[in-house]
Amino acid sequence: MPATDYTYPSVYFAYLFFFLCFALAVYFCFRSRRDGYWGDEGEDAKFQVFQDDDPKRRTP
């Protein structure tokens, strides 16, 4: 293999990135459970769409 071939470091660099991505996904998935997204109040967030307080669109 030529001395300038960085194939393996590059592939492992990509694997490291995706492992970090996976680890963060696992952490935040469990964190979302702790934060109540799957509980009784898990549906409350969907009403935020209508709470944007935009003064340009207020009802007369």
Partner: protein, 464 residues
């Protein structure tokens, strides 16, 4: 029919009310719409070159090899990602109940993004190209993209950190996911590939290409759909929990599908099988999203008659379902043996990027720009026309390329047919492709004119 407000009522802000400046959103959207039009011209030239290969002679900077990457990068980064970023700048502060963390940083990001896109036009037409699908930009522009993305990420994350509501709506999840995933995906596709060789290099590139769609354009596009469908129909989302299932299943499944671009190629069979298995598992997040958005519209379908944004949004959802059914199916070895590398693939890719995610972005722009400017949309009629031109032209384009691709694949699998005969046989397909392209471009012109006239014109009619 929504109530009309006079100009005085519109500009009079109640005391203590939150005011969104929206300057960043406005400039991202205006520039992205302008690039949509400009790069649409390039797309039309490319489609014409399929029918008349000698068109524009031998001028090097107007050859197919230079214009095609310009079309791909211009549409992906100049139009779609810029429009998505503009809509994120509009949506995130509203969902968080606070102003954008820094409009100055946002405007600097918009300026830098324009430098990148203009740089891409010059370099790609000059033939300065890294030679990798979706990663054609030279390394110095790649670095600027990374800088701009960090600026975008800081602004979004700081806005989310200062949010009024503890619980985050699914659009915020998707936007933050997109920012983090893009960092991983873009660095891998544009830097790690440069230092790899052979099959590993190709495999990394295809992992990037597929994740560019699946982990960049999909999450931010779905985030936009999840915001604008309830907002435009004035109907709450069917289920926030189901949207979370869609988000997390996307997060865990999507990243491993890229190798299906190398089926029957010189990579390990186990890697091909893993890519196929994960491609099939994509049906889980797709169905979670599609069911949720369709259930949201239950009893509200009549609104599509009056609302152009809803027309674009719900058509986009249908195209999302179709494209995400096609994807897993042509990841199967037997189907892939026919359609791989044929015209089927651009038909599929255009349905994803134009039919689905661009439709979401167009809908968001039609909804947001009048609010941002405090004006009514320049022309509802023109907006309707833009929808039908894009819809009919798009359908003609997609279906023609699927049929042509299958035909092409069957011919390629017959070794007794000379290759040049398969090229000649596809000419009728490419004529329909060009005619469909004219219709789609007309839709783009109507959309771009309507938005730019709303944003920059002197039309002072009261806002809706």
């Amino acid at each position: 029919m929504q109530p009309q407000f006079s100009k005085a009522e519109v500009t009079k802000v109640p005391e203590g009310a939150l005011v969104h400046e929206d300057a960043t959103a406005k400039w991202f959207l205006i520039s992205s719409v302008a690039y949509f039009f400009i790069v649409g011209i390039i797309a039309l030239i490319i489609a014409a070159k399929f029918v008349w290969p000698d068109l524009m002679g031998s001028m090097s900077w107007l050859t197919y090899g230079r214009l095609r990457p310009l079309h791909v990068n211009g549409m992906l980064f100049g139009w779609l990602l810029a429009a998505d970023m503009g809509l994120a700048y509009y949506v995130i502060p509203r969902l968080c109940g606070v102003p954008l963390w820094s409009e100055k940083l946002g405007l600097a990001t918009a300026a830098l993004w324009n430098v990148i896109i203009l740089g891409a036009v010059v370099t790609l037409m000059a033939g300065l190209n890294q030679g990798w699908e979706y990663a054609e930009l030279p390394w110095y522009l790649d670095i600027l993209v990374v800088v701009a993305w960090i600026m975008f990420g800081i602004n979004v994350f700081m806005t989310v950190a200062s949010r009024k509501h503890q619980a985050m709506y699914v659009t915020i999840w998707y936007t933050m996911g997109c920012i983090l995933w893009t960092a991983f995906v873009y660095l891998t596709g544009n830097f790690a590939t440069l230092f790899a060789t052979g099959t590993n290099q190709a495999n990394l590139n295809w992992m990037y290409v597929h994740n560019a769609v699946g982990l960049i354009f999909t999450p931010i596009g779905l985030g936009i759909a999840y915001y604008f469908i309830p907002r435009a129909s004035n109907t709450p989302l069917h289920s926030h929990k189901l949207s979370m299932i869609g988000f997390w299943s996307l997060a865990f499944v999507y990243v491993w599908t890229g190798a299906h671009h190398m089926l029957h190629g010189p990579i390990s069979q186990w890697l091909q099988t893993i890519a196929i298995a994960f491609s099939l598992m994509l049906l889980i997040p797709v169905w979670a999203v599609v069911y949720n958005l369709f259930a949201t519209m239950k009893g509200q379908w009549h609104q599509l008659r009056e609302s152009v944004p809803l027309k674009f949004l719900m058509s986009g959802v249908v195209f999302y379902l179709l494209t995400c059914f096609q994807g897993p199916m042509h990841s199967l070895r037997t189907v892939n043996a026919i359609v791989s590398k044929t015209d089927w693939i651009p038909g599929h890719a255009h349905m994803a990027v134009l039919g689905c995610f661009s439709f979401f972005a167009i809908a968001g722009t039609y909804f947001a720009m009048p609010k941002i400017m405090g004006k009514a949309l320049h022309s509802q009629s023109l907006a309707n026309w833009s929808y039908w031109m894009l819809m009919i032209g798009g359908l003609g384009f997609f279906t023609t390329l699927w049929l042509g691709g299958f035909w092409q694949g069957w011919q390629w699998n017959n070794v007794s047919i000379p290759f040049i005969d398969t090229v000649i046989a596809l000419k009728p397909i490419w004529i329909v492709r060009f005619l469909s392209g004219i219709m789609m471009f007309t839709g783009i012109v109507f959309f771009a004119y309507n938005i730019l006239a709303t944003a920059l014109g002197t039309h002072e009619e009261a806002a809706v």
